[in-house]
């Protein structure tokens, strides 16, 4: 089965590449607007050999990991606090709900004014984009804890704190993981968006720079790399989760973020 699980998706990718190639050969597409797969692969290997690709990828990766980590570090305690305290909910919910409604891209001009066009601005955008899926996922998970399990803890004489750490948080984990996966994806999208607008390095910058030079092959190569890294990071996250929490494996199979 594992072989088939790997083979089938590969075949789909191959088929798409095939159609792409055929479309070019048959003259349906303009070779300048949509270069052939071979041209993109050539551009990719040039970029790889020259070290340019690695440089931009590492910069983007670093920003995403930092921003994602910052989001998680903010979201987890805040979700616990707001689940535990009515006061916190009353005070913070409207503000958070307001921020959630504003697309992070709409805040880019403001962030540029406040934070400049350096790393802080990029981290800001990533945090804005990736905070809510983790936060809401974790809160939802906490709210969805089975009250029957809490009763097991109460009869056993567990304190409020023990009930939180030993029952509520573990049972919120599946939804938290879904939130983490969505957040990681959003981090990538937001980052590339931020790099397209104002940046001098990173995969988003590499793409926009290639567009200015009319190098569509590099644009496509950049897109491929971004997609591949996104796919890969989700895979790594899922693997790490199913290693650490074997009982979640079934859930991971069922949810596709």
């Amino acid at each position: 089965m594992p072989a088939r699980r790997f083979l089938a998706p590969t075949a789909v990718f191959a088929a798409v590449a095939m159609i792409w190639w055929l479309a070019g050969r048959a003259g349906w597409t303009n070779a300048y607007l949509l270069p052939a797969p071979s041209a993109v692969v050539a551009a990719l290997s040039d970029l790889a050999v020259s070290g340019i690709l690695l440089k931009h990828t590492l910069i983007s990766l670093q920003r995403v990991l930092l921003g994602f980590a910052l989001s998680v570090a903010l979201a987890l305690p805040l979700a616990v606090l707001m689940s535990a305290s009515r006061l916190a909910r009353v005070v913070l919910d409207p503000l958070l709900e307001f921020i959630r409604q504003v697309p992070p891209l709409a805040l880019i001009p403001l962030l540029i004014l406040w934070l400049g066009i350096g790393e802080a601005q990029k981290l800001g955008i990533i945090v804005l984009a990736s905070f809510f899926p983790v936060f809401l996922g974790f809160r939802g998970g906490i709210a969805g804890v089975d009250p029957k399990l809490i009763e097991v803890g109460r009869v056993a004489g567990l304190t409020r704190r023990e009930i939180l750490t030993r029952i509520v948080l573990p049972s919120a984990l599946p939804e938290l993981v879904v939130g983490l996966r969505i957040s990681l994806g959003y981090s990538w999208r937001a980052l590339v968006g931020a790099e397209l607008i104002a940046s001098s390095a990173g995969l988003g910058y590499m793409i926009i720079d290639a567009e200015n030079l009319a190098r569509t092959d590099i644009v496509l190569a950049g897109i491929l790399v971004i997609g591949a890294i996104g796919l890969l990071s989700d895979l790594v996250l899922r693997l790490a989760v199913s290693r650490a929490f074997p009982w979640l494996s079934a859930d991971l199979e069922a949810t596709h973020a």
Partner: protein
């Protein structure tokens, strides 16, 4: 001390007041073993929940020595899905005993319910009856002063049920916790108790002392007699099964 003093528990179900428990006065002497029988919905679980302190009475009082620990087997297994069998059994003990003591208790309890082999399994990998036995092991491992059981053997085959009934009697004889066991199986009630509390519509309608030595056999004529007389009183002359058939025919 475990006592209900004119305890009532009312629920509001869609605007209608349901008297799940209606003025129950009942003493469960320390070290006694009592079973509670009655039809579905008569308030057996509600009575256990009051004894466990999981709900407060709407009126009346529940008295329980504050120093007494409570172990409960719920009507459903209620296992933590993220913990394996051994960790579920250890759950109430974590942080209360040393790891060595916990391991010993878990081993003992799992052996008693016949699940020593399944200690590394996750709850999703268990059958319904296995899950219920893990829940029983979890309560036994606590070695509580008060042991409450809500139809603990209902998901088990007759053979496993018999052996776990014996385990319960052995444990009760050895450690003498105060046991209250809910069942809808009158034979089980007679086999497992010093006295049988009969409930109907939230009230206690009878208490029968079963003065026979343990362990008891279902085939013992004295057991059969007790069973027959309790059943006769509970059913009140009308057999609920034929009653259902009649009312269906009318429709």
């Amino acid at each position: 001390m475990l006592e209900l003093i004119d305890a009532s528990r009312h629920y509001d179900v869609a605007g209608r007041a349901v008297r799940a428990l209606d003025g129950v006065r009942e003493l469960f002497p320390a070290g006694s073993i009592t079973t509670v029988v009655g039809r579905s919905g008569c308030g057996k679980t509600t009575l256990l929940r009051l004894l466990a302190g999981l709900t407060e009475p709407s009126s009346g009082e529940v008295r329980r020595a504050p120093s007494h620990s409570v172990g409960i087997v719920f009507q459903e297994a209620r296992l933590m899905p993220w913990l394996d069998v051994a960790a579920n059994v250890a759950f109430p003990l974590k942080g209360r005993l040393s790891d060595v003591d916990i391991a010993a208790r878990v081993d003992e309890a799992l052996t008693l319910v016949g699940l020593a082999e399944a200690r590394r399994a996750l709850p999703v990998q268990l059958s319904g009856g296995m899950a219920q036995r893990v829940a029983i092991a979890r309560a036994l491992a606590q070695q509580p002063d008060i042991l409450l059981l809500d139809e603990p053997f209902s998901a088990l085959d007759a053979f496993t049920r018999r052996s776990l009934q014996r385990v319960l009697i052995d444990i009760w004889s050895a450690r003498r916790p105060t046991v209250v066991l809910v069942t809808h199986d009158v034979e089980e009630a007679v086999l497992l108790s010093e006295s049988v509390v009969e409930m109907e519509a939230g009230r206690v309608v009878g208490r029968v002392t079963v003065d026979l030595p343990f362990p008891r056999e279902a085939t013992d004529p004295a057991v059969v007699d007790h069973r027959r007389s309790i059943l006769a009183r509970l059913v009140g002359g009308t057999d609920p099964v034929t009653q259902t058939i009649h009312s269906r025919r009318k429709q």
